[in-house]
Symmetry: C2
DNA sequence: TAGGTCTATATTGTCGACAATCTGGCCGAT
DNA sequence: ATCGGCCAGATTGTCGACAATATAGACCTA
């Protein structure tokens, strides 16, 4: 997710990005312990920057920390997934509602163009869509809400966890095209400046996504 | 807000609590810069623990940090208040809805008892209610949602900001008794296991609170 | 005088060492 | 044999010093 396109300016930030990626992609196994000394040698930085990186991971809810004990990567449970998606549904539903009011016409135009690009990608059968494409779509709508708190909670707070579930459960399959249609309808509602419909469609879209993930988690 | 009743186990945690309180209560002025060296001498700890404390304050959205520049206390703007309460309305509305389903009968009973206690406090005319009492009320409902992500976002994330607005704008006045009635109706909806009504009443309650705060901010 | 560069200073970022605390295993008592 | 306390090792928390970066002001130039 280099959508924010922010280059790490400090060593702690770079270590944070590296660690986050390794956790999201499962290189560091869910539930495993994060030893400061170990990571310090692995990423070739001092323990202080590892501590700072871990501290930021805690903000993303990717790790949990106990005083004088240490940090562990969160483990993925069905209950956690349900809780996460309850919150996501509410927040992104609000984002879609606000976006229908607050997005500028040029931004909406860009959103439509993004959709057109995705359409070609889907037709060509690439799996790329579900990962970066989907994230990009949701990202723009969240930004379109123009609510900085909302943006922060979603992107600094829970989005990496959502990615973690998706990546580790392996996203692909028949939902790709139907998800695209759902995206299309959401964009149409936003283009029509219909906040209530935009929220409802977004909430359903996320519910479908949750159900899809749940079925994979239970299998 | 010692509802969580968690004693600081480490120096960084204690410094975090102290700093947070000073910021929320306005002892440290909104918008002011947080100098690590200065705070280090003031709280009599090393710069490392000050840095950790500031890092945690960033998670609460109480301070903003820029690399190689430093941290500043957030400043309170009308726009920020609106954004904050949009998010709060959505999240606490969800909390009330979930609480109506997930709270146990004993927990609901305790909630009713809390309300009875508040009634006496309101009658006696103490201002205590609006601060700790109100926070306690909302806290229990949030916990009653049984959704750990939601609980974390609200309590580790935005509740201290809400307190900051309330404390610094000076809460008291004629809304005390009407707010109590709103609380009473919310508890009734939860007792009746009526999720939709509970959510609607909570959302309205928070809207009223926002309007009340806004009028103070504009004056 | 306006604009830009350069330097001095202050502040933040990073490091390695030491202190405090937890964990797991050993030993003894009942 | 089981339970509890206790010791050793390892891990996290804290500290002060050093390095890297930004900021403000002086100085120079056009």
């Amino acid at each position: 997710m280099n959508l924010t396109a922010e280059a790490p300016v400090t060593a702690a930030e770079k270590t944070f990005f590296d660690l986050r990626q390794d956790i999201v992609e499962g290189v560091i196994v869910a539930g495993s312990k994060l030893s400061e000394a170990e990571l310090s040698t692995k990423y070739e930085v001092s323990r202080a920057v590892v501590r700072e990186a871990i501290s930021r991971l805690e903000t993303c809810h990717l790790v949990e920390r106990k005083a004088n004990v240490g940090a562990r990567v969160v483990d993925l449970t069905p209950e956690g997934l349900i809780e996460l998606y309850q919150v996501r549904e509410s927040l992104e539903g609000m984002a879609a509602r606000l976006a229908a009011t607050n997005m500028s016409e040029p931004e909406i135009e860009e959103l439509n163009q993004l959709l057109a690009t995705h359409f070609k990608t889907v037709q060509s059968g690439e799996t790329y869509y579900q990962e970066a494409g989907d994230v990009d779509f949701h990202y723009r709508i969240i930004l379109g809400s123009k609510n900085n708190h909302l943006i922060s909670i979603l992107y600094d707070g829970i989005y990496h966890l959502i990615r973690m579930y998706r990546v580790q459960l392996g996203m692909a399959g028949p939902r790709v095209t139907t998800a695209f249609d759902e995206h299309k309808n959401i964009v149409k509602a936003i283009s029509d400046r219909d906040p209530e419909l935009a929220e409802m469609l977004m909430r359903r879209h996320i519910q479908y996504t949750k159900n899809n993930l749940q079925s994979k988690l239970e299998s």
